[in-house]
């Protein structure tokens, strides 16, 4: 049943991803009235599917790559809705909604075969650890997208070419980029803190010598540094994009490092 709900959610993400194109590119409010409810409904179905999926697998959190991927899609869609509610712009959805659709597509039609019996995965704290870190990743991705949109629009305005009408004003994209980063910081900090406390209690000090874990802390430091620089000097435009891209690269590396970590793997292929 969970797969059915996920497929419905993916279908709705697809509809929202298509509807957001005329809504954003041609400023058609009628299409916006399809894109936003479709995204909201997709989130609901996705949530139900995820809850059922985790329940059926007898664990409370996404473990395999596909589950995590789908969960990230859900969080991204949530961030998009928050951005829409706050800034009344659907432009970010042009990029975010297709990502949500693609992230859900493989788990919906080719579910993972990995399983786990690791007892720790049945605790609520681990769920919080993963949810918070995925929220931070989603926030960072949206921030990077917003910075890129800022850069594109800034280049157009500088070169005296006609501004891209569907992109939000520079100040709005800058605010989206900064506020999503600020939203991501407590999520990442709390996520890492919870993970560290659990690791300390269960694995011991050796956990903190794992390269993946060290990279995760480096990622947090880079994240804090980026926010400090952005807030302190009001960094915008090209340099902000470079900085966001660098942090995003670090995040991707941390994600990929799961494959090489000896202590941060809980699944058996």
């Amino acid at each position: 049943m969970s797969l059915l709900w996920l497929r419905v959610a993916v279908l709705l993400y697809g509809i929202a991803a298509l509807a957001v194109l005329p809504a954003a590119l041609y400023d058609r409010p009628r299409w916006r009235h399809i894109a936003i409810p479709a995204t909201t409904a997709a989130i609901l179905f996705h949530f139900v599917s995820l809850a059922e999926m985790l329940n059926a697998a007898h664990h409370r959190l996404p473990v395999d790559t596909h589950e995590t991927q789908a969960f990230l899609g859900l969080v991204l869609a949530l961030v998009f809705l928050i951005v829409y509610a706050r800034y009344k712009t659907v432009s970010v959805g042009v990029f975010v909604l297709p990502i949500c659709f693609l992230l859900g597509l493989i788990p919906a039609f080719h579910p993972g075969q990995e399983y786990t019996s690791f007892p720790l995965l049945h605790t609520g704290w681990i769920f919080l650890h993963i949810a918070l870190l995925l929220a931070a990743y989603a926030a960072l991705l949206v921030s990077l997208l917003a910075s890129l949109l800022y850069l594109i629009q800034e280049r157009r305005l500088k070169s005296k070419s006609p501004a891209i009408p569907w992109l939000p004003p520079l100040e709005t994209t800058d605010q989206i980029a900064l506020k999503t980063l600020l939203f991501g910081l407590p999520c990442m900090t709390a996520g890492l803190l919870i993970g560290s406390l659990i690791a300390q209690a269960t694995v011991g000090a050796s956990y903190f010598r794992d390269p993946k874990i060290l990279l995760a802390f480096a990622m947090w430091l880079a994240y804090v540094a980026m926010i400090f620089i952005r807030r302190h000097s009001g960094l915008r435009g090209r340099r902000a994009v470079y900085l966001s891209s660098f942090i995003f690269l670090v995040v991707l590396t941390v994600w990929a490092a799961n494959q090489f970590s000896s202590v941060h793997r809980f699944t058996t292929p």
């Binding site: 005296k160 006609p162 939000p168 520079l170 100040e171 709005t172 302190h232 009001g234 915008r236």
Partner: protein
């Protein structure tokens, strides 16, 4: 189209293309006198309905007149009546407006009205005010009882067409004046202009106009710097702004989000290094420089500084010209919509025209049927009530079947209009 319509639609007018301003201003009707003028128009011989559209660019009389265009001499008579109205009401000799007048009838009058309301006939194509002006004229005409069935239907359709043009094309979406282009660009940078600070350096009509536009959009504080302090104080008073000493310009300019410069200074007031300095002090919050001065007040290299956006008069004019070209392209699409809507409207009129003929045919057939039944009444009296009812039904059915080909032919002429109704 058949000219047996109930009335003859005539549109007579002058506009910015046909008449110079000294002629237009003699025929212009101030809003306060519009009701009186419309009432006077309605009292002209042969006028059944009427509306006057008077703006700074046009004066048009839209009238529904007695008779038809097919009647001999009616066209010249109609025009003469309207010319007499112009002569009497405005006290201008007929020779003054006559060479500048245009006249449209029936289908072309409908097309012209649709084009005017859709802003396709405006001096600045796509400007939004004209629809409001047509609506105001309609409201006045309605209040004085000068608009009833035919013009009412025409004007309602006109408003629908104008809205359709605006929603289905981008004809009014881009700015074409220097001041509005500047505002648009400011909004692309800052989003809402609420609370933004504008610095006016120097004085000039265009820079003041741009400042006025920015204030209308919510810009908060106005700073004014001018070499002549009294002039600065005068401008500041006009905009409820604050004067900053010209000597302190470089120390205080970073307070402004938008800087409009229009001094007559032979040298640049702001260089690249000033831009870097301002941005540093503003912690990289963007600044928008609108340089209307010739020679320029702002070094164009300041545009290379991240966060500084510099537009000089040529840049603004180029954006305005590009927007105008966009509007021209959109105008072509709008013309297609108008043509389609004129066809639809004419087909509706045809439908309306066919209704009396259909009714007359049906009434005539019914009269014959009843007369024949009456003649046969004695011979049918022996029949039972059921049999009499059957004969009645039989005659009705026969009449209907005999009329069917004629009615179908009449309706066929109006079938596209029925399609149109369903498509609406």
């Amino acid at each position: 189209m058949s000219q047996t319509t109930p009335g003859n639609l005539v549109l007579l007018g002058i506009n910015h293309n046909t008449a110079p301003i000294d002629v237009r201003e003699r025929l212009a009707i101030p809003p306060g006198r519009l009701a009186d003028a419309t009432r006077t128009l309605l009292h002209q011989p042969g006028i059944r309905e009427g509306l006057i559209l008077s703006t700074c660019n046009r004066v048009e009389l839209v009238t529904l007149q007695e008779g038809t265009a097919a009647e001999p001499g009616s066209q010249t008579g109609n025009k003469a009546d309207l010319l007499r109205f112009l002569h009497e009401y405005f006290s201008v000799p007929p020779a003054t407006p006559t060479p500048h007048l245009y006249e449209f009838r029936e289908r072309e009058a409908v097309r012209h009205l649709f084009r005017v309301a859709s802003s396709l006939d405006s001096m600045v194509v796509g400007e939004p005010q004209i629809l409001g002006q047509v609506k105001e004229s309609y409201t006045v005409a309605r209040e004085v009882g000068a608009v009833s069935t035919t013009l009412e239907a025409l004007l309602q359709r006109t408003f629908t067409v104008a809205k359709k043009v605006r929603s289905e094309t981008q004809i009014g979406s881009s700015s074409v004046s220097i001041a509005s282009v500047a505002v648009d660009l400011a909004r692309k940078i800052f989003g809402s202009l609420q609370g933004k600070t504008v610095l006016l350096v120097g004085a000039g009509k265009m820079s003041e106009l741009a400042a006025r536009h920015l204030i209308q959009q919510g810009a908060g504080t106005i700073l004014v710097a001018n070499r002549t302090e009294s002039r600065a104080e005068k401008i500041a008073a006009e905009f409820h702004g604050t004067v900053i000493p010209f000597d302190a310009l470089h120390e205080q300019a970073d307070r402004a989000d938008i800087v409009i410069t229009s001094t007559g200074a032979p040298q640049k007031l702001f260089g690249r290094s000033h831009g870097q300095h301002f941005l540093h002090r503003r912690r990289n919050r963007p600044m928008f420089f609108i340089d209307i001065a010739v020679p320029r007040d702002v070094d164009p290299r300041m545009n290379e500084v991240e966060g500084c956006f510099v537009y000089d008069i040529d840049d603004l004019q180029q954006v305005a010209a590009a927007n105008l070209a966009d509007r021209s392209r959109e105008a072509e699409a709008a013309e297609t919509i108008v043509s389609r809507e004129v066809d639809k409207y004419q087909q509706r009129l045809q439908t309306r025209d066919a209704v009396p003929a259909i009714l007359a045919l049906q009434q005539s057939a019914e009269a014959i049927r009843e007369a024949e039944l009456a003649r046969a009444a004695k011979r049918l009296s022996a029949l039972t009530p059921d049999q009499q009812a059957a004969v009645e039904a039989l005659t009705r059915s026969l009449t209907a079947k005999l009329l069917h080909p004629q009615l179908t032919a009449l309706r066929r002429t109006t079938s596209p209009a029925e399609d149109d109704k369903s498509s609406d």
